[in-house]
Symmetry: C2
Subunit: 702 residues, 2 copies
């Protein structure tokens, strides 16, 4: 297994930023020349079908690369590993891939669900592959995302045996090597490659098709279920926003007439909002179940059967369930930490946040009341608030990550969900406390309206345009610059051509875009997570359902924003960022819960607004304060009761999905019994006769 | 297949009541003589191991019996059917049973879960029976309950084919014959037989073991999961009552000191109650999951795979899922009926109930305020209320059954759950409206206390003693009478002995208790359902959690009552009633939801009691009414929030159950792959090697 020796090139000091910025195209041009200087390339087969890239940091010693390579080849022999050095940076990379047969076997091992020819999603079985759609087409049966996930899973099965050590890093038996090396910085990056063809298609049907439905299935194939689920959710939410946007416009026009009309409009808006939010959340649950079924992630196997996330710590023991070595961490320890440390720490921190913010608001109010305050004092509260929030946000984030790491969740999913709860709690106060303060303490309705409008229009729409437009313009400028440069270099190359002639065809072959693509992509920024995207939408959802009775155009603003948001998020993924590994999720997880909590808070806030805004008082002028409060509380309870009843009454999984699942389950049972499905159940189950290609038979026909 | 001819005996006119009452023992004595008069008995083999009895009404024509018998023997040949005529009533009965092999096959067909030798519950497979505990002991492997369920399921597979008709009854193809005949009255009863040995054991370890834990597993084996689940719930609830009962006594003693102490005690009681109710409901969910796992009903297969309940109506079509003929009823029709007819009808009826009751209360109050009301007027409101409630209850029940039947649920489970919701709504108002009226409208705290005490002590404890003691005394009297009679008859028999001598041993053999047992049991009253038992407990739970701050001894009363309740319900089942078929349930169904709603209502009621009872006012004398209300509402929201958070945080299924399920799932997967469980996942999944007795192999080794 030859490894190319590490060369220090003239360009060794190129930083990631340099490479990523305008001269990546430039590098691409120079790559050919570079490679030629080493004969070592001839020892490793060039791989056109590379799925995943693993890179080492600059200045990694050869023996480190060798160490990992030998272990990979010995313990996971099914992975095709090709070692390359990047063209312009002295960086080693493993190009990882596998054969169609290997992918099939692993798809079975990992419980990938694929579509049967007759319809229905079941776990793929190699022995029954004839029953699956497209099984005879290696190029389409597994999507590029599938393959990348499989390679990642294969890499993660590379576990340490007793005695493995690399420099100062000692491995316990059974520890996953690659994640450990990644977290220690011995491996720099592990990422899947983009597929230019698919990307071109996605850019056309998704990024640029502004008013068309999103190609959700293609997104899922390319970016995985988790990201596709986000866009499906965002798309559905945007569509649902049309109704409240329309009603908002009507209300806005009507409410200009008189105060009485305004009050009734506000009441109507309130009721509509609450009902809308409830129905939307329920409808999404059903849609989400449909998508998860279609994408093969509905009703995933027991959590205990899933592999622990790589950073999960614990005593290595044989698992009771699978018999393999696995870290174990008693949940009692986790729970003690959660309820005795995390929970109080989070509550105290949130308390500090709320008090600090309220202090800033009060300070502002005190300044506002002054006649002719000195200029520095005029801006002091705003500056203080900004600094305060910034500092608190930083510290809180650190705390949240620290606590969540300490809680040491076994599964990535649980880790993320608990992190989301922690982070969202802070962001909730950050986003809404000022509005609550204005609405319920200051009770300044015009100001509430203005603040909301400012938040929705300035922060969201402008922020979004910035997010989408700026990179777009940058990209265009870059392309224009590169064109100019390329023209210039072509001329230069034409001059130098004779000098390189002796190497024959070789340069062309090695000068494949593949290698350069890997280098370019390894320097692209990473797609963090869906977290930021969901958070932005969650807060917007909050503005719409909590306060839209105060500012009826909120839904319209949100709608306009989201039409852009979808495409700008799509643009970001398809253009600027390294490709993420596809992740399997069953639903949008904690975000659903968070939005349901928001839905309940919305009932309270909306009804409280009715009370504090004076609407009830104007409608029923003879009521005492106590009676008004009782009326509002009664209404609140009634509405929440109805909300809960509606959520209870609507089944979370649509009937057709249930039927499909039952069909597959029935087939499975019949196959296990080793007899054909009876026409009617009176067939005695006494002696199973064997007909038809059942699972049992197929298994033994090997 | 000889059928004994119908004889009209001198005792033909004996009514069910006659037989059931004191002379059943008497009949038992005479049975031998009776049977001897017909030579036909010799044609049918006597069956000692009969599981299920099917009886026809008196005066059924022979051809009806023949019709059913021939169909049973032709279409479900695995059932052993023996035809008998009852000794003292001209009633035909089928004695149904099957062989151990047939039971095994059907247990597999029905997906019975049995315990593996290594532990873990999995679906029984005939081909792998060696892996199950006790598989070689036909007498213990299936409990009598298991066998009876299997026989019932076998009978239910007797379906009509085209052209089947019996008198005026026409069958559609695929219709279940026996349930149809039962509902038409052509078959009188279908019931499983008691097992005297088990019953004697249960009476000893359960009915009479007053202060010992209930033998829950034995109950489950004998009466099935549904009934065992009720008693497990009742047992746990009773144990949990000890804490509030103790606190209640302390509060009761302390609150006699001063009003201030009373207020604080009340507050403490309130908080404790709410926390207690939440924790109890969560703890039960976990316990219920454990029991369901142990009894093999946790996570039952998809609803769509279960057979429809016999009375489910619909167009007969081939099922999309199983391919067999089944009635179909579109859920859209059901939903339209539910929301456009049922829901408004129920709401209006409940409205009528509430208004009528309030009218009676107001009338009562008006009478109470009068000085020296005329005697008839004094009792008029009470009589009116009693008549009113009685009438409304009757009508409401009829309406609820009518609507629920019309809603035409496919599964028994859903049918029952929806019926429970309807019936409980009425009972909630029936039980609690008067208390609400006194607490929040009249605001007469001493009266609330007295009413509660009366309800708990009189209605529950006395009612219960009556329920338990009266039948017990009756039973004793009956036994004493029978003893005397038997002695008398023995003497008579001794005199007549020479006349019967010529028949040899025959009388002894035929005079088996089995036959007589069937006759006796067929005349016992049926065990209706767990509904009444749950309802009683549900209302008691309501008294404890809603109002115990007003009457701290409520929990103590409930505790005392339940200690008796458990044994009196047990007594009822083990002595007086026909044995019910065992039913499989996963949990206590709608009752859990109903009690959770009660938990939330409890928060509101308890906090409202704090407000209306004047406690808050005494604690914070400077508060305005509006502020008091706001404080209470704030507390209410806080408490409900905490309650929801606690319920969300506690996992519904205990970790060990999850692990057990995962273990079985892992084994299943490995077996399907046809290879042994790998020591560590790095084993390549390339070529499945076959070792060990896997499912796939076992199936083809037939």
């Amino acid at each position: 297994m030859p490894i190319p020796e590490r060369r220090t090139s003239a360009k060794a000091k190129t930083t990631a930023k340099d490479v990523f910025s305008t001269d990546s195209q430039n590098n691409w041009q120079k790559a050919g020349k570079f490679v030629l200087s080493s004969k070592l390339w001839e020892h490793s087969t060039p791989s056109q079908t590379c799925d995943v890239i693993l890179t080492f940091p600059k200045d990694t010693e050869d023996y480190v690369v060798m160490w990992l390579l030998s272990r990979l080849r010995a313990r996971v022999p099914e992975i095709d590993v090709h070692v390359r050095q990047m063209a312009h940076t002295p960086v080693y990379a493993f190009y990882l891939s596998a054969s169609y047969e290997v992918y099939q076997n692993w798809a079975e091992e990992l419980g990938f669900r694929k579509k049967l020819i007759g319809g229905g999603m079941v776990e793929f079985k190699v022995d029954e592959k004839e029953q699956f759609e497209n099984h005879d087409d290696p190029t389409t049966f597994f999507t590029s995302g599938d393959k990348q996930t499989i390679v990642l899973e294969m890499i993660n099965t590379l576990r340490a045996v007793d005695g493995d050590e690399l420099g100062k890093i000692k491995f316990c038996e059974g520890m996953q090597i690659v994640p450990k090396l990644l977290s220690e910085g011995v491996i720099d990056k592990l990422f899947p490659l983009h597929n230019e063809d698919d990307l071109v298609k996605l850019r056309k049907t998704w990024v640029k098709a502004f008013f068309k439905p999103q190609p959700i299935d293609d997104i899922c194939k390319y970016f995985g279920v988790k990201i596709a689920m986000y866009f499906a959710w965002l798309g559905m939410y945007t569509k649902w926003l049309i109704a409240p946007a329309f009603l908002g416009i009507v209300t806005f026009i009507l409410s200009m007439r008189s105060e009485v009309t305004r009050d009734w409009c506000m009441l109507a808006c309130n009721i509509f909002n609450i009902v809308w939010a409830t129905l939307f959340l329920e409808a999404w649950k059903r849609r989400s179940a449909e998508l998860a079924y279609k994408w093969g992630t509905l009703d995933m196997p027991s959590e205990a059967l899933k592999d622990p996330r790589p950073l999960f710590r614990g005593e290595f023991k044989r698992s009771e369930i699978t018999g393999s070595l696995e870290p174990h961490y008693p949940s009692i320890k986790r729970n003690i930490f959660r309820y005795c440390v995390s929970l109080p720490a989070i509550l105290v921190s949130l308390g500090v946040v709320v008090v600090s913010m309220l202090f800033c608001f009060e300070f502002q109010r005190w300044v506002d009341k002054m006649e002719n305050p000195p200029k520095p004092l005029k801006f002091a509260p705003k500056v203080l608030l900004a600094v305060c929030i910034g500092q608190l946000d930083d510290n809180y984030k650190k705390l949240a990550y620290f606590l969540n790491d300490k809680e040491n969740y076994r599964l990535q999913e649980n880790y993320e969900n608990h992190l989301i709860i922690k982070l969202v709690s802070f962001q909730f106060f950050n986003a809404f406390l000022s509005l609550f303060y204005i609405a319920f303490y200051v009770r300044d309705f015009p100001r509430l309206k203005n603040t909301l409008a400012a938040l929705l229009i300035t922060k969201q729409v402008v922020g979004n345009v910035k997010e989408a437009l700026v990179p777009f313009v940058k990209q265009k400028v870059k392309e224009w610059k590169q064109k100019k440069k390329m023209e210039k270099e072509k001329k230069e190359l034409a001059k130098n051509q004779p000098a390189d002639k002796k190497t024959g065809d070789k340069p062309k072959e090695l000068d494949t875009p593949l290698m350069n693509q890997a280098e370019i992509e390894s320097n692209m920024p990473e797609y963090e997570d869906t977290f930021e995207d969901y958070l932005e939408m969650f807060i917007q959802f909050g503005y719409v359902v909590l306060f839209s009775s105060a500012f009826p155009l909120a839904a319209l603003c949100a709608l306009l924003n989201n039409v852009i948001e979808i495409r700008s998020d799509a643009f970001k993924l398809c253009t600027n960022l390294r490709r993420p590994f596809g992740e399997k999720v069953e639903n949008i997880g904690t975000w659903q819960d968070a939005m349901e909590v928001m839905g309940v808070v919305a009932v309270m806030v909306n009804l409280a607004l009715l009370g504090t805004g004076g609407s009830i008082q104007r409608m029923f002028p003879n009521m005492t304060t106590a009676e008004t409060i009782l009326l509002i509380v009664f209404l609140e309870h009634l509405v929440i009761g109805i909300k809960v009843a509606v959520a209870y009454a609507i089944p979370d999984i649509p009937e057709w999905v249930e039927t499909e699942i039952a069909k597959v389950e029935f087939k499975r049972r019949e196959a296990l019994k080793g007899k054909p499905a009876p026409a009617a159940p009176q067939t005695p189950p006494a002696s199973p006769t064997q007909e038809g290609p059942t699972e049992a038979q197929a298994n033994t026909e090997l």
